[in-house]
């Protein structure tokens, strides 16, 4: 049986926080609930971005998802290097 939206959000956040890599493809979240269709999982992941819990990381040709705080933006990274 498919997870509820809240359960799915929790599963996606758990995956985003505990995965080895900070940025994940949308397909990486499909395993959070094999009974939910990919488009529904995409919608929930996008809701988490709107709620400010996840963020998009994009190369320009591909887009990935990351839990806020796990993936560093370039400005933060540059500032960290400057402060060393």
């Amino acid at each position: 049986m498919a997870l509820s939206v809240d359960e799915l959000k929790a599963a996606i956040m758990d995956k985003a926080m505990t995965a080895k890599k900070p940025q994940l493809y949308i397909k990486d979240f499909y395993a959070c609930d094999p009974d939910t269709k990919p488009r529904a999982i995409k919608n929930v992941a996008n809701d988490l971005v709107k709620e400010g819990k996840m963020t998009f990381w994009s190369s320009g040709s591909t887009t990935m998802y990351a839990a806020v705080g796990r993936a560093k933006d370039e400005e933060t990274r540059d500032a960290a290097e400057d402060s060393k």
Binding site: V49, W57, T63
Partner: protein, 426 residues
């Protein structure tokens, strides 16, 4: 006064052609950060390596596309391009806009960006090159509120749909490309602005098989206008062409004397399927053999026109050469109604069949054409509920193995073979 010495780039100004280096130097007079573009590019020429990093967490709130993060990996040396993000704007259908609109966009870009543009990107967007992260939100606010213009697609999103001039300018258009392009753009706003797929996905719409937006070569889902009855022939106009009353190809290439028009040499013998002939002074076409190459119609536009039972062919899976080389789209549905009155539901039904399958089966960073190649065309055609016909076979089979689907085998793969053999001859 140049900020950096650029002897290698200066070479690019020495030829007889227009030079982007000259353009950027001119822009640098009002936008000093443009000197740093030249400085960084000169360094790349010297070191033979790019100094652009791409990608990052950059965008406007709620959108997962339309802004492409670009950063210099030598920001201290070239601070003007430390951030130099690209902004993609959704172009109007067929790229019809007023000069006032273009002026407004350029003024906005002078205010918030480098002033440099790339008109248009290969997906069709108006591409604005070079701005900083703090400028993104104010730019987006004014763009959407004052100019009523939206961002286009980027990343793993549906990319900005693009179409040819269609019925606005072209008598051959077999459906209203602008109406379909606009409808799909509005219907799939969520897919354009937020990542949805394993990789990029592009729609392109051409009104006829001349395919002026190169949908067959560039789009994952190409909608190319076609007809399923006979090419309309005006035999009097055919005679007019033969007699030299009308210039061939609508007068194109008229700068050179090509001699008298020869219908046999210039049209009939060039038909790829040989489906044309003359019977006395009448042109005959075996329409069942026509592959819609458009050559005869292009050569004699007064005499020949597409048929009246019009719609579109759907082709799936083109891409540019990143992995595995360039790939043309595969003709999947030869004829489909393109009906504005029912909100193009036949087209949308096909799109969603592809998406539902590709989102599940496609690998990360795999275009749908590559997925089709990987799993095989028969699997894709069964997803699309299309019966396989001989035209789908590219070449005779060289693989000695025969692959059966479970449903093609009596009892499926789970049958009890011993039990089966008791009842059937071995």
């Amino acid at each position: 006064m140049p900020k950096h010495d650029t002897p290698l780039l200066d070479e690019l100004e020495s030829g007889p052609w227009p030079s982007f280096v000259t353009d950027i130097k001119r822009q640098a007079e009002t936008k000093p950060e443009c000197w740093d573009i030249l400085g960084q590019l000169e360094l790349s020429f010297k070191e033979r390596i790019t100094h652009w990093k791409h990608g990052g967490i950059v965008g406007v709130f709620g959108y997962g596309g339309g802004i492409v993060g670009r950063y210099s990996d030598v920001p201290k040396q070239f601070p003007g391009v430390a951030h130099f993000h690209t902004v993609r704007l959704n172009q109007p259908s067929s790229k019809f806009y007023s000069s006032a609109k273009l002026r407004d966009i350029c003024n906005l870009w002078e205010k918030y960006g480098s002033g440099m543009t790339n008109m248009h990107g290969s997906t069709g967007d108006l591409v604005l090159l070079g701005t900083t992260t703090p400028n993104l939100e104010p730019l987006f606010y004014e763009l959407t509120h004052d100019l009523k213009q939206d961002l286009g697609g980027s990343g793993s999103n549906l990319r900005t749909p693009a179409c040819c001039l269609g019925k606005a300018r072209c008598e051959w258009s077999c459906y209203d490309t602008q109406a379909l392009c606009h409808h799909l753009t509005m219907h799939y706003q969520d897919e354009i602005h937020r990542p949805a797929f394993p990789y990029k996905f592009k729609f392109k719409m051409s009104g006829c098989p001349n395919d002026c937006v190169a949908a067959i070569a560039r789009s994952d889902f190409a909608v190319i206008g076609t007809w399923r009855d006979d090419i309309r022939i005006d035999q009097a106009a055919v005679k007019g062409y033969i007699n030299g009353d009308f210039p061939a190809t609508g007068g194109a290439h008229a700068g050179k004397d090509w001699g008298a028009f020869n219908i046999n040499k210039e049209v009939i013998q060039l038909c790829p399927t040989g489906c044309m002939s003359m019977a006395g002074d009448e042109l005959k076409i075996d329409n069942a053999e026509c592959t819609r190459c458009m050559h005869c119609i292009n050569a004699m536009p007064r005499a020949l026109r597409p048929g009246v039972d019009q719609g579109a062919s759907i082709l799936v899976g083109a891409k540019a050469p990143i992995l595995d080389g360039a790939q043309f789209a595969t003709l999947t549905i030869p004829f489909l109604e393109v009906n504005q009155e029912n909100d193009f539901e036949e087209v949308i039904e096909q799109i969603e069949k592809i998406w539902d399958w590709w989102m599940e089966v496609g690998k990360n960073r795999e275009r749908v054409g590559e997925t089709i190649q990987r799993v095989g065309l028969p699997t894709f055609l069964s997803v699309m509920e299309v019966d396989i016909v001989p035209q789908h076979v590219k070449e005779p089979r060289s693989n000695p193995y025969v692959f059966w689907q479970s449903e093609e085998v009596e009892g499926g793969f789970d049958r009890d073979v011993r039990e089966f053999r008791k009842r059937h001859a071995q």
